[in-house]
């Protein structure tokens, strides 16, 4: 059996889904981030001066891009898979000979692609406000892909366990958004009091944002290797959980 066709079918279906509703999926991040750059970067940033040796506008660009990647890769998978489950069209896939890893890989790929597409849109908007020369393109791409993978997986697990539409908005609103804002998007952790610096280091998003910032502008509050290690660990852990949930049919089968 040729599983690549089933995988491609799921990925193409996912891409069509978010492209078809582009005013809901691709346009809002462009507007929101343009406002971030204008208000925080331009109007307030000019008064803040340099942060870790770079202008405030340059400093926030990587965090804003990655924050968009995080929220959109998560949102894509959680909303798409939960809707599929809610409308019961997941049964189309479950009755077919599609292995669990193909289901997972298909939906996660959709989340990664949307996350990277939104990240690219935000990066293009940032070019109107900042003049950034990429420090290391490999780090930029690898961290963006790995981060999108982590949050697509998290979104998948949320969708499987969710029993109502309320359940798919709790994590983005009450966990992801606070962790993103407290992950050093708009500030350096060095600017925080010692206690908050220590607490911040328990936030995985801090590592991802700083590694991405290092790739983009060569500035970071943390060790890059640690960021890779942590992201890799999360991907392994969340993949295993997702596969176990699919194998047991939790939330999908009676």
């Amino acid at each position: 059996m040729n599983y690549s066709i089933a995988l491609r079918t799921i990925i193409v279906k996912e891409i069509f889904r978010f492209v078809r509703i582009w005013p809901q999926t691709l346009l809002p991040p462009a507007i929101t981030t343009a406002l971030y750059f204008l208000i925080f970067g331009k109007l307030i940033g000019d008064r803040i001066g340099l942060v870790n040796g770079v202008s405030y506008m340059d400093y926030i660009v990587p965090g804003v891009i990655l924050m968009s990647v995080i929220s959109h890769s998560y949102a894509n998978v959680v909303s798409s898979f939960y809707s599929t489950k809610f409308q019961r069209n997941i049964e189309e896939i479950l009755v077919a000979p599609v292995p669990n890893w193909v289901i997972l890989a298909g939906y996660i790929s959709g989340g990664i692609i949307r996350g990277l597409l939104v990240g690219t849109v935000v990066a293009l908007i940032s070019m109107l406000f900042a003049d950034i020369v990429i420090n290391n393109v490999y780090i930029v791409l690898s961290i963006a892909i790995l981060t999108a993978t982590v949050f697509s997986l998290a979104g998948f697990i949320n969708a499987i366990l969710a029993e109502s539409f309320d359940d798919i908005s709790i994590i983005p609103n009450f966990v992801l958004t606070p962790l993103s804002y407290l992950g050093g998007v708009f500030y350096s952790v060095d600017m925080l009091p010692p206690l908050w610096q220590t607490l911040s280091k328990g936030n995985p998003i801090l590592y991802m944002i700083n590694a991405f910032r290092y790739g983009l502008i060569g500035v970071s509050d943390i060790n890059i290797e640690l960021a890779y290690l942590m992201t890799g660990g999360f991907i392994t852990f969340l993949t295993l959980i997702s596969l176990v949930l699919l194998y047991k049919g939790i939330g999908l089968k009676n």
Partner: protein
């Protein structure tokens, strides 16, 4: 070759409800098989387990000799399922629903396009291929589900109440379509609440109630077991009261409509002779209820009686 073989299948849900209490069932290749039962009897649970949408508690299910747990790919490739409720993405076009399903079965694009065209034409949906599915009528949506289930040319097709809620014209065209599929070699298992549908289409039948198979035989043998048939006679002249004819139970429903219970051993000829003798003219005759429906109710009532005891 058995299209479907079920052995000691049991399902107990997490809340303790025993939906299936160890059923055994065989469906031969090429059969048109009716799986009947009242609501909550366990039909949908059994279909869910066969189609891998419900985990069984114990027992085994094989489709054309392939176990659904140990030989999943081959078992699933032989099976097409048309569920009771609409379960496709209603924002997708008819074409993409069927093509996506072909993709899940690993069908190359060129072949998928050919099969999609064939199935949509068979279901008289080719003109609607670019329509968004939520804009279709109820009958068309059901046909989309059948086209989707048929796209990978399954050898066994399970139709779970495919004609529920559709008008008589569409129902009859769907009967015709199901018969054609069966004549072309597809084994069909049909669940329905329209017992007239099961009686006219199916060759073999199983009745499930309270998680157990209470009847499993061919349709003629089952119908032959009826001891009494109920008829309604339309009369040419009105009567004041029901006549008394030994061996038959007669009841006057309206002055010109007579209901009669005919014991099988007596037959209907004697009744007409007696009515003639009484100068009662009959203009038409029909079954009071569908024969299978009568038998079905008798079997279910017996089960309820057993439980009550």
């Amino acid at each position: 070759m058995k299209a479907l073989s079920i052995r000691n299948l049991q399902k107990t849900y997490n809340n303790g409800f025993e939906a299936l209490k160890g059923i055994d069932l065989d469906v031969e290749e090429g059969d048109f098989f009716a799986l009947l039962g009242p609501n909550g009897a366990g039909k949908s649970t059994a279909i869910g387990i066969i189609s891998s949408l419900v985990n069984s508690s114990s027992g085994s299910v094989s489709i054309f000799g392939h176990n659904v747990k140990t030989d999943v790919v081959k078992a699933k490739s032989c099976l097409g399922v048309v569920p009771q409720e609409i379960n496709f993405n209603q924002f997708d076009t008819v074409k993409s629903i069927v093509l996506n399903q072909a993709g899940y079965y690993g069908m190359p694009r060129k072949l998928a396009l050919q099969r999609m065209e064939l199935c949509l034409k068979q279901m008289d949906l080719w003109d609607k291929r670019d329509s968004v599915s939520r804009r279709l009528s109820g009958g068309m949506k059901r046909r989309v589900m059948i086209a989707r289930a048929m796209v990978h040319a399954p050898k066994l097709l399970i139709l779970d109440e495919p004609t529920a809620g559709v008008d008589i014209e569409i129902r009859r065209s769907m009967w015709q379509m199901m018969q054609t599929l069966n004549e072309n070699g597809t084994t069909i298992i049909l669940t329905t609440h329209y017992l007239e549908e099961a009686e006219s289409l199916c060759r073999n039948i199983a009745i499930i109630d309270q998680g157990k198979i209470i009847e499993n035989s061919d349709m003629p043998s089952l119908l032959a077991r009826m001891h009494i048939e109920h008829f309604v006679l339309d009369l040419l002249q009105p009567l004041l009261e029901a006549p008394s004819i030994p061996g038959y139970q007669l009841e006057l429903i309206t002055p010109k409509v007579l209901s009669v219970a005919v014991p099988k051993e007596r037959g209907i000829n004697q009744l007409f002779i007696q009515l003639n003798a009484l100068n009662i003219q009959v203009s038409s005759l029909k079954n009071k209820t569908n024969r299978l429906e009568q038998l079905f109710m008798d079997l279910i009532d017996t089960q309820v009686g057993d439980v009550a005891l």
